[in-house]
């Protein structure tokens, strides 16, 4: 490790990384990953990346900010940053989060309670760079100096910092070293929110400077608004794919299923994360089967963006967030449905059910809810016959932050698992005290350069420890184990992380959603819906 770093180091004019992490410095993992020497080595950043992009923060590079070609260009970028900084604290530009941001800027006492709660800080071996207050403290000093126009007295009271392009470039990267899980905010005695600081910094960079990771902007929210889905699927393609899914599910379960599209006046408009249709088709298939058997009057919509629940704007951009949320609501209004139900996607839950609540007015404010209470009520109603012995293998549950800590949907999924999975066991801690999967806030879809190495070694490490501990009584490959992750983004992180560490081959740790477990336990379906084949 590059020794202790100080806040002043972020202004260092060179482009050398501030820190370097070695595997033996990271938080130790339980068996079978207890030996740091056998841990996966990190891929080095490609030379081309280092020469073209700003990589002065740590061992990786998430955003790919082109290096300025001249001093003048650097100064222009700093000026744009300052312009955005002012807008971040201005009500007409940032009414959306001004109050919580101001409170966080002006009242942190630096007690470091947040650091004790941050999985990234802990997993990194308590590296200063990843301390939740590190980035907040940079923004705080800039706020008092440039927004509040503080002089010497302010610098004495709040600390000073030198603003230059290297600082801005490092701050852009640093904004993408936080999962926005807000576990730190939960532990703050004052109520300051370092997760919000990371999110608002991302917003400044996106909305003022047009800087955001390609995966979440160009290939994310922009693609969704252009094609209808961040997967690139148009309405015709998604309908074709879902028809194929229906056919496959009907064959696998022996129960005929057909997904209804664009049914006017339906009770439920179901919106999936469209990534499920592409990567885990058994998930939307399972939904279709359950809703059909339960007699729910439901539909999907083929309107632009309305067949993909994702809303990446939640992580970095208010304008993109509002646009996608409105597309979802306009589709619901057009069909005249009674309610929108969000499928297995955590951030889509939070985006549409909670955050969007205060951008919707009039007839666009159509009720929205999680699929979990509906699924719980179906499972416990007796409408469908279940045989829990079909799920008689160890199952543990990951709590997606957006559904649980940030939305309070904690028990319905547990009621289902207790009813259908005889070997269900909790991770510790769980519920609202859970740890992020490490893929939150867009990381799960960010795979440029060597970012996955950081994602698995650092941001996903605490969750990996939890998973291994949850299955500590049956670690061997002779016992297949199921990690239930009712969120598409979390599943993406688990798929990649489990594969990275070879935990499927060595330990038979499998992952999947909740509805798959429900269908697997259906007494009238052909057995073996969960096929234990790695994808």
């Amino acid at each position: 490790m590059s020794g202790r770093i100080n806040l002043r180091d972020v202004s260092r004019p060179d482009s050398e990384p501030l820190i370097h992490l070695e595997n033996d410095e990271l938080m130790p993992l339980p068996a079978p990953l207890e030996n740091p020497e056998k841990d996966r080595p990190w891929a080095a950043l490609p030379e081309q990346c280092q020469s073209r992009y700003e990589c002065g923060l740590d061992d990786t590079c998430a955003v790919n900010i082109p290096k300025p070609k001249s001093r003048e260009e650097e100064e222009q970028l700093v000026a744009r940053f300052l312009s955005g900084l002012d807008k971040l604290f201005d009500k007409k530009n940032n009414w959306t989060f001004l109050e919580p941001l101001l409170l966080t800027m002006e009242h942190c006492t630096g007690c470091q309670s947040c650091a004790e709660s941050c999985h990234i800080f802990e997993a990194s071996g308590r590296n200063e760079l990843y301390r939740p207050t590190f980035r907040s403290e940079i923004l705080r000093r800039l706020y008092f100096k440039y927004v509040k126009r503080g002089g010497f007295l302010s610098a004495w009271q709040h600390g000073s910092i030198q603003l230059n392009w290297p600082l801005v470039a490092r701050l852009i990267e640093l904004a993408y070293r936080c999962n926005l899980c807000r576990r730190c905010a939960q532990s703050c005695p004052i109520g300051c929110d370092n997760g919000l600081v990371a999110r608002e910094l991302r917003k400044l960079f996106s909305q003022e400077m047009g800087i955001a990771p390609r995966e979440i902007h160009d290939n994310g929210s922009m693609l969704q608004l252009k094609a209808g889905s961040s997967t690139g699927m148009t309405a015709e393609i998604v309908k074709d794919n879902v028809a194929f899914v229906d056919e496959d599910i009907s064959e696998r379960t022996g129960i005929a299923v057909r997904t209804p599209w664009d049914v006017e006046g339906a009770d439920v408009l179901l919106i999936h994360n469209a990534g499920e249709i592409m990567a885990w088709p058994e998930n939307p298939g399972a939904f279709a089967l359950i809703l059909t058997l339960a007699g729910v009057n439901w539909t999907m919509s083929s309107e632009l963006a309305a067949y993909d629940a994702i809303n990446y704007g939640l992580w970095y951009d208010d304008a993109q967030f509002a646009r996608v949320a409105l597309k979802h609501m306009e589709a619901a209004r057009k069909l005249g449905v009674k309610r929108i139900v969000i499928g297995e996607c955590g951030h889509a839950h939070k985006a549409l059910c909670v955050i969007a609540d205060r951008i919707l007015t009039g007839d666009l404010n159509i009720p929205r809810e999680s699929y979990l209470p509906l699924l719980r009520d179906i499972v416990l109603s007796g409408k469908i016959k279940f045989d829990p012995t079909r799920n008689d293998f160890p199952v543990t549950l990951h709590d997606p932050c957006n559904m649980v800590r940030l939305m309070g949907v904690v028990e319905p999924q547990r009621e289902i698992l207790r009813a259908l999975c005889p070997q269900f066991r909790e991770m510790e801690p769980h519920g609202v005290d859970n740890y992020c999967c490490g893929g939150g806030s867009g990381f799960a879809i960010m795979s440029g350069n060597n970012f996955p190495d950081w994602r698995f070694h650092v941001s996903g490490r605490k969750k990996l420890e939890q998973i291994l501990n949850a299955f500590a009584d049956c670690p061997g490959p002779e016992t297949p184990k199921y990690l239930c992750a009712p969120c598409s983004n979390c599943k993406g992180q688990f798929r990649d992380m489990i594969a990275y560490y070879g935990l499927w081959q060595k330990n038979r740790i499998f992952y999947g959603g909740l509805v798959e477990l429900v269908v697997n336990a259906m007494a009238d379906a052909k057995p073996g819906f969960i096929d234990w084949e790695w994808r």
């Binding site: 409170l103 630096g110 109520g191 919000l196 003022e208 609540d357 007015t361 309070g408 904690v410």
Partner: protein, 311 residues
């Protein structure tokens, strides 16, 4: 000396109240922000609050009235304010010094309140049975004040040591933080030392409080105690202009952010505020936002940047 002390106290209190009011208004006047709550919420139904559940756990939650469990909120607030519960839970190493410091502050506030009540009893109820309260309140004020000042000094010294020796705290400790703690130590040490070691014939706390009420310059106070009072008055005036005003912030961060799960219902006051905010005209510069200072938030949210680009 006595007149200067009286002036410092009244000026300190005035500036404190004005500073607090300014800060409260600054936060209260910010626009209604997007929902950003964190669970558990103490005003949920008790069985849900226990594990952090919300009304979103129920199908068609909008058909049921929102639960408002004020008793739950009060319980959490009392634990948090009096015993710094979250610090104890999440940062045990800092809890004891911080608890001593804050509890000392509460005792000092109690002492000032008792002294003010004793003065009021003495002035307003002279000759009635209420004047008996003076004999009860005055010693309570002295006892609470003395213990409070000692706890503040002890807590502040401990916090000072932690801030200057703990590597974890160093990056977020400023010169101002050290100064603030020294300020508390100096003011409280002078107050307690000056009062306990005061010369014969100088005023007791009750006599001083009574004198302050009448602006009686004949009241004699010791130099050290007087200096302590002046220093404490400056400290009180200074607090609202620093992050030490987190007692104000905490109301907003907890009630208006963490615990704010109010629903936006059609025709509600919340919907009115949202509509007003959607009328703001932002000026963000990135092309995809399409903010030119003329278009409102509502207009921007209903445009599609990919279609705009094709035009």
């Amino acid at each position: 000396m006595t007149a200067a002390v009286y002036l410092a106290i009244f000026a300190g209190l005035f500036i404190f109240l004005a500073g607090c009011l300014r800060r409260i208004l600054a936060y209260a006047r910010t626009p209604l922000h997007l929902r950003w709550e964190l669970y558990p919420l103490p005003h949920e139904h008790p069985y849900r609050a226990a594990y952090g559940g919300s009304y979103f756990e129920t199908q068609e939650w909008w058909r049921q009235p929102q639960v408002t469990n004020r008793r739950g909120e009060w319980r959490v607030m009392i634990e948090e304010i009096l015993f710094l519960k979250s610090l104890r839970e999440f940062n045990r190493r800092l809890w004891l010094p911080s608890f001593l410091f804050h509890f000392g502050l509460y005792l000092c506030i109690a002492a000032i309140t008792c002294a003010a009540l004793a003065t009021a009893c003495r002035l307003l109820s002279f000759g009635t049975r209420f004047s008996e309260f003076v004999h009860v309140l005055a010693p309570i004020a002295i006892f609470a004040g003395a213990i409070g000042a000692i706890l503040i000094v002890a807590g502040a010294c401990w916090l000072l040591i932690r801030r200057t020796t703990d590597p974890a705290l160093k990056n977020s400790t400023h010169a101002g933080d050290i100064f603030n703690l020294l300020f508390f130590i100096a003011a409280c040490a002078l107050l307690i030392g000056g009062y306990l070691l005061r010369a014969p014939g100088t005023a007791s706390l009750g006599e001083f409080a009574c004198g302050a009420f009448h602006f009686d310059r004949a009241v004699r106070i010791g130099a050290a105690f007087g200096a302590g009072l002046i220093l404490a008055s400056i400290l009180v005036a200074y607090i609202p202009f620093t992050h030490m005003a987190h007692f104000i912030a905490k109301y907003f961060t907890w009630h208006a952010v963490r615990w704010d799960d109010r629903r936006n219902e059609r025709g509600s006051a919340i919907e009115g505020k949202v509509t007003a905010s959607l009328g703001y005209k932002p000026t963000w510069s990135a092309p995809h936002v399409g903010a030119d200072g003329q278009r409102t938030w509502a207009e921007i949210a209903t445009t599609n940047p990919t279609k705009e680009a094709q035009k």
